[in-house]
C-alpha cells in the first residue's frame, strides 16, 4: 500500500516539474472522478459491513470446516462470491480453515471467488461497464474459481 503512495507522490512531483498546468488539471480530474464515485462506494461499504456481520468468520469456519465434497466447494465459492474481505483478513482466515482440516480445493474455491467474483461490488461494476459485462464477467469468474478448486482436488496429495 505504501507503494501506491510513493508512486503517486513521485508521479505528481515529476509531472509538476514538467508542466504545472497539466498537473493541476490532472489532480482536478482525479478529484472529480473520486467525488463522482463516492456515493456508490459508500453504499457498497455499508453492504459489506452488514454482510460481514451476518456472515462472521466463525460461521464461515463452521460451514466450510469438515466439508470436503464437491458440495463444500460450491458452498465455498458462493460464500467467497458474496463476501468482500481485504487480504489481511481473508488469508489468515484461510490459514484457520487449513488448520481445521478443510481441504485445499475448498480453500482455493473460497479465496479465488473472494478475489474474482464481486456480488456486493456489482452495482459499481455495472455503473462502469454495464450490466451485461458485469454479469458475464462475474459468472465466468465463478466458473474459474470452480475450475481452480477442481485442479486442487486433482493435485492434492501429490503436488501439495
Amino acid at each position: 500500500m505504501y507503494f501506491i503512495y510513493v508512486l503517486s507522490v513521485v508521479a505528481v512531483i515529476i509531472s509538476f516539474i514538467a508542466d504545472r498546468k497539466k498537473t493541476k488539471k490532472a489532480i482536478k480530474i482525479g478529484a472529480k472522478k473520486l467525488w463522482n464515485i463516492t456515493p456508490p462506494f459508500i453504499s457498497i461499504l455499508i453492504a459489506v459491513s452488514v454482510v460481514l456481520f451476518l456472515v462472521p468468520n466463525s460461521v464461515i469456519v463452521e460451514y466450510l470446516g469438515g466439508s470436503d465434497s464437491y458440495f463444500g466447494v460450491v458452498i465455498a465459492t458462493l460464500v467467497g462470491s458474496i463476501t468482500v474481505m481485504p487480504g489481511p483478513i481473508s488469508y489468515p482466515l484461510c490459514g484457520i480453515l487449513l488448520n481445521k482440516g478443510v481441504s485445499y480445493s475448498v480453500i482455493a474455491a473460497f479465496s479465488s471467488s473472494l478475489m474474482l467474483v464481486g456480488v456486493l461490488t456489482f452495482p459499481v461494476e455495472k455503473a462502469y461497464f454495464g450490466k451485461k459485462f458485469a454479469l458475464l464477467r462475474n459468472a465466468l469468474s465463478f466458473v474459474i474459481a470452480l475450475i481452480i478448486a477442481l485442479v486442487f482436488s486433482l493435485v492434492s496429495g501429490t503436488l501439495i
Binding site: 500500500m1 503517486s8 464481486g118 461490488t121 462502469y128
Partner: protein
C-alpha cells in the same frame, strides 16, 4: 430523472444507516456496533487507498496519449497486451473496487475490452501483496499452483468474453457524461 430517483434512494439508505449506527452506539446495541466497526475498517481502507489511485488516474488522463494505449493495449496490439496488464495489476492495492475506475480509464484511452477483462482478472489473481499474504498462510506450493492455473483461465475467459461482447457491438456506459447530468 431516473438517475435522480436512484440517488435519492441511495441517500435514504446512507442516512438511515448512519442513524442506525448512531442509535446503536448510543444504546450499546452490539450488532449495530459490530457493523459500525466493520464499516469504519473498510472506510479507512478505502479512504487510504483511493486518493492516490485517483491522482494517478488523473495524471494518466492528462499525460498518457491515446495512441500509446491503443498501440500497446488496443485492438491491433496482440498478445503482449495481456502481459502488460498483469504488470499493471501486480502492485495494485485494494482489490476489484479500486480496479474498476482504472480499467475504465484504460478503456477510455483505447484499451480493448479483452484487455480490461484480463486486467480485472489479474487484479483478482496476481497482486503481489496478496501473493505474499497467501503464501504465508497457505504455503508457497498453494500460491504457485493457484497462480499457474489462474493466469491462463483469466486470459482465456477475458478473450472469449471480450470477443463475444465486441461481436455484439457492446458499448460501455459513459460514466463521466452521466455524472455530469446531475
Amino acid at each position: 430523472m431516473n438517475l435522480l430517483k436512484h440517488i435519492s434512494k441511495r441517500t435514504i439508505i446512507i442516512v438511515t444507516f448512519f442513524i442506525f449506527l448512531a442509535f446503536s452506539f448510543f444504546a450499546d446495541y452490539t450488532p449495530g456496533v459490530t457493523i459500525g466497526v466493520n464499516f469504519k475498517d473498510f472506510l479507512l481502507q478505502m479512504v487510504t487507498i483511493l486518493p492516490p489511485i485517483f491522482i494517478l488516474i488523473g495524471l494518466f488522463d492528462v499525460w498518457v496519449k491515446k495512441e500509446t494505449i491503443i498501440k500497446h493495449l488496443g485492438e491491433g496490439a496482440g498478445a503482449i497486451s495481456y502481459f502488460w496488464v498483469f504488470v499493471l495489476a501486480a502492485p495494485m492495492a485494494g482489490g476489484l473496487l479500486p480496479g474498476f475506475p482504472i480499467a475504465y480509464s484504460l478503456h477510455k484511452k483505447g484499451a480493448r475490452i479483452q484487455v480490461i477483462l484480463v486486467f480485472l482478472g489479474a487484479i483478482g489473481v496476481g497482486r503481489v501483496p496478496m501473493l505474499f499474504f497467501e503464501s504465508t498462510f497457505l504455503g508457497w506450493e498453494f500460491t504457485l499452483i493457484r497462480v499457474i492455473v489462474s493466469i491462463p483461465l483469466v486470459i482465456i475467459s477475458g478473450i472469449v468474453l471480450g470477443k463475444k461482447l465486441n461481436n455484439e457491438g457492446y458499448k460501455l456506459p459513459e460514466v463521466d457524461v452521466k455524472s455530469k447530468k446531475k
